[in-house]
């Protein structure tokens, strides 16, 4: 009896499966590519509009001007330079003694953040020795918004902190937590990615993503002809500093008749090689644009493997790209997202507790490395690992150069 029920159930299930698959599987052999194509194109259009969502004409114009603006401060110490603007009065924080700093870090999951993190710790060593800072307690959120919110709340509740340094993981999600930190009445320093509140004592960042996009796109336009093809390799969607780089570049490419196709790579070199190989199999590619230099070498290697001429290319000031750029002699530019900004938050802590005013929005210089300067940067960073960033700005700190060469990540 039981067996017959079972076999009935099986038969019904099989029949249902048959009915289902009869409609779906047979056509699926021929149709899915076509169906996916339609779906994909339909989806591709809003994706392009999505790009516009990050475009902000006012910010674009402002950053475009800032690229040639003159910065206040010693050019030998670009990490302390800033653009004239509103200053925050910090006289209320002026006090004696070593202070405890709490640092909520988004992550150290890419070579840029690692290099900066090393520099920051060497700067910390100096300030601890000078008796400005007693200790820095750091929590690494490992690229997770929720973890970082918990980290900040932990610092507020039981961190016993005198000042907060926050490098936000994402813009919108971190805003309430930063506001809570501000409500404690202690100094809050935000750097790198921004948040949607101006409650922080100072917000430290290089000029920005639009400036990067303008520098790189204009370089490619100058070295390419109208109608040339550019492949844009992007790490991931949704991060403001990266999206703004592409939003600016895309606009400039469009205005100048450059055919640009963008891909998300996750910085995975396998993916990058595959994308370039497929593009080269479809037709010639004259330019490569990157929103970050991680993986630039894989992109160049794809041209070598396919036996094609090197493209005109923009990477980043990462050593691997600078070295490959010199070795191949391609026409290139290394845009810079100033890595030395990792020193600035701790120096800002020093200023704040000394009662010196700090810029409300501390805009640091951001100057690309052109071919003429490449040799200098290669020489001054000799022996540094491939993941090191040329404009790390730590040559005057203790431990230079061994700490960066050995990449001693604390």
């Amino acid at each position: 009896m039981r067996r017959s029920i079972q076999s009935k159930v099986t038969a019904v299930a099989a029949a249902a499966l048959l009915a289902l698959t009869a409609c779906t599987t047979d056509p699926s052999i021929e149709n899915p590519p076509a169906a996916e194509t339609e779906g994909g194109e339909a989806a591709a259009t809003p994706a392009e509009e999505g790009g516009d969502e990050w475009f902000d004409q006012a910010a674009f114009d402002e950053q475009s001007e800032q690229r040639s603006a003159s910065f206040t401060g010693d050019p030998e110490q670009p990490w302390l330079q800033y653009l004239e603007g509103e200053m925050t009065d910090t006289s209320e924080f002026a006090s004696e003694g070593a202070k405890k700093v709490c640092f909520a870090n988004a992550s150290i999951s890419n070579p840029w953040r690692q290099t900066g993190w090393i520099t920051m710790n060497q700067q910390l060593e100096v300030l601890v020795e000078q008796g400005v800072i007693s200790e820095m307690e750091t929590r690494d959120a490992q690229d997770d918004d929720n973890t970082q919110i918990a980290d900040i709340d932990y610092f507020i509740a039981e961190g016993d902190c005198d000042a907060f340094i926050i490098s936000p993981n994402s813009t919108a999600a971190m805003t309430p937590a930063v506001e809570r930190a501000c409500e404690t009445g202690k100094p809050v320093i935000v750097f790198d990615r921004g948040v949607e509140t101006d409650c922080a004592t100072t917000f430290i960042h290089p000029i920005g993503g639009f400036a990067w996009g303008i520098d790189t796109a204009e370089f490619l336009i100058d070295n390419l002809e109208e109608g040339d093809k550019v492949v844009a390799l992007r790490i991931l969607p949704g991060v403001d500093v990266l999206e703004q780089r592409w939003a600016a570049a895309e606009k400039i490419f469009e205005e100048n008749g450059i055919e640009a196709t963008d891909y998300f790579t996750g910085a995975d070199p396998t993916e990058i090689k595959k994308i370039i190989s497929d593009e080269l199999a479809t037709g010639d590619v004259q330019g490569v644009w990157m929103d970050a230099g991680d993986g630039a070498v894989a992109a160049i290697e794809a041209f070598e493997d396919a036996g094609k001429d090197y493209p005109v290319m923009t990477g980043e000031d990462e050593m691997s790209f600078l070295r490959k750029w010199e070795e191949t002699g391609l026409t290139g530019l290394a845009p810079v997202y100033s890595n030395f900004q990792w020193r600035t938050p701790l120096l800002a802590v020093e200023k704040i507790f000394a009662g010196e005013e700090v810029p409300k929005e501390w805009v640091l210089p951001q100057t690309p490395i052109p071919e003429e300067e490449r040799a200098d940067f290669l020489a001054s960073n000799e022996g540094m690992p491939d993941g090191h960033y040329a404009k790390f700005g730590g040559t005057d700190l203790p431990g230079y150069p061994e700490v960066w060469q050995e990449r001693q990540i604390p």
Binding site: E30, P33, I108, D268, K273, S277, G387
Partner: protein, 365 residues
């Protein structure tokens, strides 16, 4: 087989369908259909982009798909024995990082580190296999745990960022090839490695080990009753899988370079490829070379989508649909076979030329 007398062998040969019929019937199984799908996709890609059909482009495509195909062959052993190996992707990642960190620019370290990587790979497989079979924990959980453990190790070791590429001699394995070959221009080493592994896997599946492996996947209890050491047969399948992941990792270091994101998602790509190759999840059915063909079909499909201008963000969706569709199609076919509908009503049966002599008919006893 050796116990058969020559007469009996001749009889078996005589009763077989002609080669053409057997091929045709094979093509109607999911494991055979994937080859047709592959050809159809190739034709479609060449239609969209004729330059892809040039021998030079094609061989490069095979070269770059080789690591996925090798991973799929490895995953096949585990799946056909009725288990899963989810740790594959992180084995690839861990091996890539090991190569990058330990070899550096020192050519002398290439061979020792290569050996170390193989030993490390085998060890991971051994642990996966023993924990699954002896502690009787589902392989889904065991290999998931292994995947997370290895990813954590990699994160701890690298902080999640690349360290730099190893010596070029090591990278030649995945990047180089035999040059100046007529027509092809270049014969990439990964293609040769894939051919060797495919041939080895094909041979292994015709050996007693391969036959028992399938039997274990079909019905572990029955296999155990025939005297097969199920735990050791399955454990060896896990070792083969991890070794395949290791080889894929070695190729990827050369092809792409060192980066913690290399190998990400490899386990699911390999499982998709195996399923697309008509191998039944749960074990006991499927052909090893179909798994490799599944990998090529999958990559070919992605290439087609790419050439057709579909955003790469759709890849995961496509992969998901394929898994479900392939399992459904496979289930339908095997279901039909099990009920005997397929061969009895649709296939022309080869008439037995000579009825067997009474003496050979053991059933008559």
């Amino acid at each position: 087989m050796s116990t058969l007398t020559p007469d009996r062998k001749a009889e078996l040969r005589r009763d077989r369908s002609p080669r053409k019929d057997r091929l045709l019937r094979g093509m109607r199984t999911p494991g055979g259909a994937v080859f047709i799908l592959l050809l159809a996709l190739l034709a479609a890609v060449i239609f969209v982009n004729p330059s892809f059909g040039e021998p030079g482009s094609l061989i490069r495509f095979i070269g770059r798909t080789a690591p996925i195909a090798i991973a799929a062959i490895g995953q096949y052993f585990v799946i056909v024995s009725g288990e899963f190996d989810l740790s594959m992707g992180s084995v690839v990642t861990a091996q890539v990082i090991i190569a990058g960190n330990l070899i550096g620019q020192d050519d002398a370290k290439v061979l020792p580190v290569l050996l170390l990587m193989l030993v490390f790979g085998a060890l991971i497989g051994l642990i996966n296999g023993l924990v699954t079979t002896l502690l009787k924990i589902p392989s889904f959980i065991v290999t998931l745990g292994m995947m997370l453990a290895l990813l954590g190790l990699v994160l701890y070791w690298t902080g999640g960022a690349a360290t730099g590429n190893p010596a070029d001699t090591f990278r030649q394995i995945g990047r180089g090839g035999i040059e100046n070959i007529p027509v092809l221009e270049i014969l990439p080493y990964p293609v040769l490695i894939l051919l060797a592994i495919a041939a080895g896997a094909f041979w292994l599946m015709r050996r007693p080990y391969g036959r028992t492996l399938i039997a274990v996947g079909d019905n572990a209890r029955a296999a155990a009753l025939t005297g097969a050491r199920v735990w050791w047969i399955r454990t060896r399948a896990f070792i083969l899988s991890s070794l395949a992941a290791t080889v894929a990792g070695i190729i990827l270091v050369g092809y792409a370079g060192v980066h913690p994101s290399v190998g990400r998602g490899y386990e699911f790509t390999a499982i998709t490829a195996v399923v697309l190759g008509g191998v039944v999840l749960g074990g006991g059915r499927g052909w090893v070379l179909s798994a490799a063909a599944g990998a090529f079909a999958l990559e070919m499909l992605f290439t087609l989508l790419n050439f057709a201008g579909v955003a790469s963000t759709w890849r995961d969706t496509v992969q998901g649909i394929i898994i479900v569709a392939a399992v459904a199609a496979g289930a339908r076919t095997w279901e039909r076979r099990r009920r005997g509908a397929s061969s009895a009503t649709h296939d022309k049966q080869t008439p037995i030329a000579q009825p067997p002599a009474v003496g050979t008919n053991e059933g008559g006893k």
